[in-house]
Symmetry: none
Subunit: 194 residues, 4 copies
């Protein structure tokens, strides 16, 4: 029974994910999800009692998958600059798939939820990413690949630019060239030019 429940919950969350990608967060109704899942109105309430609850599970799933992806990268034996480039490439991919990402929904959600700063997952993700990039830059400096006086500052700068690009992609649209241009600008500031 727990089995069945868990499976259906997962099915609902996965299906709902598609709905959130399509419609963002605020426009999604319980009916939208019911229809997408092909289940009954009351049926959905057996598993979730609000779109928020469902969305939080979608985010949880998302975070787990992101961890998996990350784990995969770490295993590889690559130079810091390669890893950073890979990371930026991933980000680029997400930005350009405007129609297939949860970005819009995530922002809409956090616009209205007043999450205490300390517990805000969005902040935690950001801070974690900054730390990782900082480490990569420091490793790159040691490896003689990068030059940078303020690794932490650079890492933060990169993350804010990425966030700026992300919101730009959702509100005005961006092209691959635009992303590349910014990534290039960032990398030029780091890579040692001889």
């Amino acid at each position: 029974m727990g089995e069945k429940s868990a499976q259906k919950r997962k099915y609902i969350v996965e299906t709902a994910r598609g709905v959130f990608i399509q419609k963002g967060y605020k426009d999604v109704t319980m009916k939208d999800i019911v229809d997408a899942c092909g289940i009954s109105r009351g049926g959905l309430y057996l598993y979730f009692s609000s779109t928020e609850e469902i969305f939080m599970d979608v985010l949880k799933m998302e975070a787990e998958e992101a961890d998996d992806v990350f784990a995969g990268k770490v295993k590889e034996d690559a130079s810091p600059s390669d890893i950073l480039a890979l990371f930026l490439k991933e980000q680029k991919k997400e930005m350009l798939l405007k129609r297939n990402s949860l970005t819009k929904a995530v922002y809409e959600y956090y616009f209205e939820k007043k999450v205490p700063k300390k517990e805000n997952p969005l902040k935690q993700q950001f801070d974690t990413a900054v730390k990782i990039i900082e480490k990569l830059i420091e490793a790159g400096i040691e490896a003689g690949e990068f030059y940078c006086e303020d690794a932490k500052g650079a890492a933060r700068n990169i993350m804010y630019v990425l966030e700026g690009l992300k919101i730009a992609s959702q509100t005005r649209g961006i092209t691959e060239e635009m992303v590349d241009r910014e990534v290039l600008y960032i990398m030029q500031g780091l890579v040692i030019e001889e």
Copy 2:
């Protein structure tokens, strides 16, 4: 008649602006605006037929006022680095007044409206700002205040960082220190260190 109409339209738009600041874009109902304006339901429909229409007028008004403010700054006789610093200070102010800005509403609006890229006012504003900053940097270089190899790139970088900070302020909250830190990082990359 046209006179009167125009005046009332303006009154509605100004009042609605406050509502959008408070509630963002999607949560605002015609009733909210009717209540805020103290006019009748039917009355509002004589001027606007949806919240979207009203919001578009709010944005128009906003753009005009922004131009005015900008004009004010240009008249002043200040060095490029002063002007840039002033501009960044303005941006900082807006970010920290989370509750008093249209930022959230604007993003919510552009999340759902598919505006053709070329006509997207958000894009136009961004591009304009980039150009101005670029010019400022170039002027700064000439004045011996700044050093920078890629003025356009730097200008874009600044704008994306600002946009990243703006969305961060709306979704996870930021402190004055956080903004100052980023601004400092940006300026350090420009100002000539002796």
Copy 3:
């Protein structure tokens, strides 16, 4: 407009009264009242936001009418025993019109509402009635019509018997004879037999 509103409110309350008489309190839904009134779902909400609110207005109306009836009786020039008999006759009428009284709805309402004792209208009505009957009995004693050692006790006894009869009429049904028998018993305890 206030005019129109007030009229419609009154219409709704009067119509709803019929619904409450028919179905009691708990079974009545907003839809029941909407249907009975022949208005739209949303229309009802312009005037009342819950069945409780409507019911309270029904009770208010009832109280006012009761006062009017009472006022009418007081004006008449009748002996205490006549007035008491008249009062009992009124009560009897109400009991026997099982289908036409709010009794059931009133009890259902007070079953579930925890009204602070001091403010409980049901208690106030009861106490008021006891006082009036007590005065009537005392007047009857002075007039030589009644004999009674404890007017207050007798008054309370009468009211509790009436309440017992009332609940009996709603839950098991009573006949005119049954009421008459109790009334007779009460009066025999008061009237001086020579």
Copy 4:
């Protein structure tokens, strides 16, 4: 099999009794009983198909227990006035335990069920009680404890007062003093004053 069934039915009825005491009759849902019993939704339907059916069994159980209690009293060797006093004391106890009695549920149930008068258990209980009290009074008269010209009338009066007090306790709340006062009034009308 029949054994097991009967046992489970009894368990359900006893558990449901507690639910009815807590919530009255109308507010109780099948889910409430399922939860209280710790059995499955479908399981309950194997034994009962509605809350009404369950409540009727609760009433049956109640009636049997009442008989038992009554039997206990009858065995005792006490004077009529003692027995009557004991009976009134029992009634008082029930009234004051507003939260622990089925009174509310019983009234709610009979408000909506149209039981043919002849078969109405409520009526049968009432009539039985009247008869017993009548006999007690007559016995009391013979024993020289009571004086009363109309034993049947007095018995009925007592029962209606008790019923009035009961409904008062459920709808407006009563205190011990209030009950005592009424009981005293009743007894004073019966006991021979020297």
